[in-house]
Structure formats: C-alpha cells, structure tokens
C-alpha cells in the first residue's frame, strides 16, 4: 500500500482505519445489545471490507465468519455474542499492531 500511495501518507491512512475500527466496536456493542443480527452482519461486512484493504488478514477472516453467521438466522444469541466478543478482541489487537506499525513511518 505504501508503494501504491506514498510512505508519507501511511500514518494518516492507518489512523483513519484505526478510527473506523474503534467506531465499529461501539456500533457492534449497540447492535448485540439490541440483538440486531442484520446490523451485526452489516458492521461485520464493513470491518471485513476495510481490513481486506489494509491487509489485516486475521481480522478479515473473523469479520467474514461473523457476517456469515449473523446472516444465518438459526444461530443462537450466545454464539453470535461469542463471535462478536472475539472480533472485538481481534480489533483491539489489530489496533495495537497497526499503531506500532504507524510509528515506523
């Protein structure tokens, strides 16, 4: 990505990504509290999309799984909640990793 854009732009772009992830964590919290499976799948789709662009492969895979499971209406709330918690942890790890990476530029 640095080659496709510019190393100077990387800190800014990573910042936008990390901010977006933070926003998605909050949205996901609200959605799971409301038991809104549709909204959960939409948020997971958005996390998957941005993570794919930024090369966060583990988070991408987890978001893809959550999106899929949230769309299937025969999954229990517990299962979805587990996946949501898992992805929230993964988001935190990703944020920390990318924040450290950001400092290299």
């Amino acid at each position: 990505m640095a080659e496709d854009t510019s190393p100077d732009l990387m800190p800014t772009m990573i910042n936008v990504y990390l901010n977006e992830l933070g926003k998605r964590v909050e949205e996901m919290e609200n959605a799971i509290n409301a038991e809104d499976y549709f909204q959960i799948s939409e948020i997971a789709h958005a996390v998957k999309s941005a993570s794919g662009t930024f090369g966060a492969e583990i988070l991408y895979d987890k978001a893809k799984l959550l999106e899929c499971k949230a769309k299937e209406h025969d999954n229990s709330l517990d299962e979805i909640t587990y996946l949501v918690n898992d992805i929230q942890e993964a988001i935190n790890v990703t944020r920390n990793t990318y924040h450290a990476y950001q400092l290299e530029f």
Partner: protein, 483 residues
C-alpha cells in the same frame, strides 16, 4: 484537464486509500452515502463513477439505476466486498460497466478506470463523427450507424454508373431496400424497377419469368409474354436470391449481362436492352462457387460493386431508430397509443442479437402493438424470445445457432485475408458456419470452466491465473445464460 471521478464509499478507511490510488491523475469527489452522492451527481459533471454496493442509506445498485436514467453513457464501476456471482451479474444487468471485488490494489483500479475512460473517449469520437454526417435515413433505409453510412456512401458513388451491384447479407437486413435506393439514386429513377425473387419461382418457370416467352413456347403458353428483362429496359433489374438460380440458367444470364441481348423462351430473334443489374443473396457467394452451385464466371461478372448489408446487431443504436419507426407505423395502423419504449426495453433491444434482423424486429414490434395497450412498451409486453433473453434463459449465441440449425441458412460472416498477394479469391473469404470448427465462445467457455474447477470454484483465483479480471468471467457467465 484531469478526469473527474465520483467515489461513493461509506468506509472512511477504504475511501482514503482509493482516493490516494487515484490522485493526482484524477480529481476525486467522495460521498459516504447515497444522498450525498446524488447531490454531487446533480451539481457536477463526472467522467466516471466508482460505486460501493453497501451504503448506509440506500442500495448502491438502486443508486446505479438513478445515475443511469440521467446519464446512460457514464462509465460506472461497482465495488463490493461481496464477491458473489449474483451481485456481479445483477450489477452488470443494471448497467454497470465493470465490477471489482474488494480488496483490490491500485493497479487493478487504475487499469479498469483507464480502460473505461478510453472507451468513453472513443465512443464520443464516433458519436461526433456520426452526428457530423447527419444522415438518419437514405431513401427508404433507416439508420445512422457508421456501418450504414458506409452503405449510403457506396450507393451514392455507384448509383450513376451502369456497373452491376452485388448485395450480400443475412436474411432481413434490407437488401431489397438497398437495391431500390440504388435505382432511385440513379439516372434511371424514372424508369422501371423490376424485382424478381429467384427462390420464389419454380426453376422451370424462372427462365420465362426473366426473358419472357413466345406463344406456344411450352404447354400452357397460350400467348406471348414479356419477361422482367423487357419490363426493366432502360431501368433496373433486381435479381434477389440469385444463388437459387439453376446452373443452366446462370450461363444464359451471364451472356445476357455481358451483351445486353437475349432471346425469349421459344423465340428466334434476339432483343437488345439497356438494363442496370443489381443482384442479391443471403448465402456466401464464394462458398457457393466452391461447392459448384454458382458459376465462378457469373460471380465475377456480377461482383463489380459489392455491398454488404450489416446485420442489425452490428448497427449500434439503429435498432432503436428503426424500432421507433415501426412503433409509430404500427400504432397508427392498429389504432393504438404507443409512443415510446421503457429504458429497460431500449437496453434489451440493443443487446438482443436479432438473428432475423430488421424483419424480426418488425414482427416483434407489431406483435407487441397488436397484443397490448398503453403508451409505453415495457418488459411485460415482450414476445417470448425477447422475454427469455431478458430473463437470462437464452444467450445470444444459442439464439443465433438455433436459427441457423433450423433454417439451414448460411449465416455467414466475411473475413478479409491480410495476404494481399493471395490471388485465390476463394481463400479471401471464410464462412464461420463450418460445423467442423468449434465456435470460439465454446472453446473459451470450456477453458474458463476448467480453470474454475482447478481452483475449486474460486472465480477470483481462476481469473488471476487466466490474467483477466473476475468481472470478465462474471460477464461471460451472464452471456452464457448462467446465473
């Protein structure tokens, strides 16, 4: 001046990356939701739109429809993290020019954008050129496409000469209208135009139809009769379906064309005439010569000014011009109020392959007008074949191949050899209706399906190995009639 792109993407992270992929080569305006995108679209002129499917306030595909209604020509690239074939096919059906599955890199985006902009530029040049020529019709022929402008130009150039014209083309492309135009544009316009369909007349009566007969020439010839040759003296004689003429008669015709003299059937005296000859066939004349069904010397005598009538599917927007003329005509005749076609039907008319060409289009429009009421033609009114095509049940290739199998019609396409030193005329033209050679689309389909199988059904991976974009494969699957 740089091209301006409208990027519709709700993810800030994706938007900033795509913006940086595109600048500074392009000016990029970014909208995060449909409402903002619509506002920008109305305020500014864009050269291209990149459109995410998932937006917070509206579906990207319904936004695509809105953009298309205002600007049918603007290139639109649909992007999404959904890589399903269904979404890709739906997007292409709704008018997207290309489809990119996320994540994608700068090269992928740049190549797609540049290709579409280049295509748009070429399309604008062609439109400018076509509008500069300013001819939507020529005598009874309707059409403004470049292909038809070329036909009009040949007719105008050849009209005042006496040189024989040989018109070829698929059935229903307007060969007789072309012959009439040649006559009307010539100095013989005030004289007779006599048309004879060699396929419609029994072979043993054809000679008499052309040359006439004297009384008692054969059983039933109770009086003398003038043939088409005498009736068209000083005018134009049009021999349609000349490929159906028996070989024995072809030699008499050759002499007639060469000398201008003929004897009626059963007669002794020669009659001298001054006739302009125009001939036509929907078969490939060189194939007929090779197979011995048509005399080579007659072919070269006739083929002084060749005119190839293009099939309707190769005439671009002419199909809409002609369809509108038919709609007006049949609505008047049938006392109906139809005035227009819906945008969906217009798109379909342009995509449908029309194996029967203008004749088939005429039948379809008449069918719709007779069986329906209303002011606008919509999808629900379409006859079965068009409806099946619209719903993806039939592909263009299957429609054309079914017609050639059922009718035995030589649906031919002429290909010019690049070898200018090749004096063998028979090798200059090749028919693609040779059943020993597999159609290219079938070979391509087999190769693509094989690649997908090797990649365990993963289309983007197969596309990467084939060195094409996934959207190319999705588009081909749509053409094959596979959802």
């Amino acid at each position: 001046m740089n091209n301006r792109i409208l990027l519709v993407e709700d993810s800030d992270a994706n938007a900033i990356v795509y913006q940086n992929y595109l600048t500074p080569s392009f000016i990029v305006d970014t909208a995060k939701e449909g409402q903002t995108a619509t506002y920008f679209f109305q305020q500014r002129e864009y050269d291209l739109i990149i459109l995410d499917v998932e937006l917070p306030d509206v579906s990207g595909l319904s936004l695509l429809e809105t953009f298309r209604e205002s600007n049918p020509d603007i290139p639109v690239i649909v992007i999404t993290a959904h890589s399903s074939v269904d979404i890709a096919l739906k997007a292409m059906k709704m008018g997207a020019n290309d489809f990119i599955a996320k994540p994608f890199d700068k090269t992928r985006l740049e190549v797609t954008v540049n290709n579409l902009l280049e295509g748009l530029k070429l399309s604008k040049i062609v439109k400018q050129y076509e509008s500069g020529i300013n001819r939507n019709n020529f005598y009874s022929m309707v059409g403004s496409s470049l292909a038809m402008q070329s036909v009009y130009h040949i007719i105008e150039s050849a009209a005042h000469s006496n040189a024989t014209v040989f018109i070829t083309g698929e059935s229903g492309t307007g060969k007789e209208l072309c012959a009439e135009a040649i006559h009307k544009a010539s100095g013989r316009a005030k004289q007779n135009f006599v048309a004879l369909n060699c396929a419609a007349i029994p072979a043993d009566l054809l000679e008499s139809e052309i040359f006439g007969h004297v009384k008692g020439a054969f059983t039933g010839a109770s009086s003398a009769r003038d043939g088409a040759a005498l009736k068209s003296n000083h005018g134009t004689l049009f021999l349609d379906e000349i490929g159906e003429m028996p070989l024995a008669l072809q030699s008499k015709l050759l002499r007639f064309i060469q000398t201008g003299r003929f004897q009626p059937v059963g007669g002794n005296n020669e009659i001298e005439t001054d006739i302009r000859f125009v001939c036509a066939t929907n078969r490939d004349p060189l194939v007929e010569v090779k197979t011995g069904r048509f005399r080579e010397d007659l072919y070269y005598r006739l083929n002084v000014i060749p005119i190839l009538m293009p099939p309707l599917r190769e005439r671009g927007d002419d199909v809409l011009l002609i369809a509108s003329e038919f709609l007006k005509e049949y609505s008047e005749v049938e006392n109906k109020e139809f005035r227009s076609f819906s945008s969906d039907v217009q798109r379909l008319l342009k995509l449908y392959p029309w194996p029967g060409n203008v004749r088939e289009l005429s039948n379809a429009i008449r069918n719709i007008v007779v069986l329906n009421v209303g002011k606008e033609i919509t999808n629900e009114m379409l006859p079965q074949a068009l409806s099946d095509f619209y719903n993806g049940k039939l592909s263009a290739e299957s429609i054309i191949s079914e017609l050639t199998e059922n009718n035995g019609d030589s649906n031919h396409q002429q290909v010019f050899s690049e070898n200018e030193n090749n004096n063998d005329a028979a090798t200059m033209f090749q028919s693609y209706n040779n059943q020993k050679i597999e159609p290219l689309w079938q070979a391509e389909k087999r190769h693509i399906e094989n690649a997908i199988n090797i990649c365990n059904g993963n289309i983007p991976r197969a596309a990467a190995f084939l060195e094409v974009s996934p959207s190319t494969i999705y588009r081909k699957k749509l053409q094959w009639g596979e959802a």
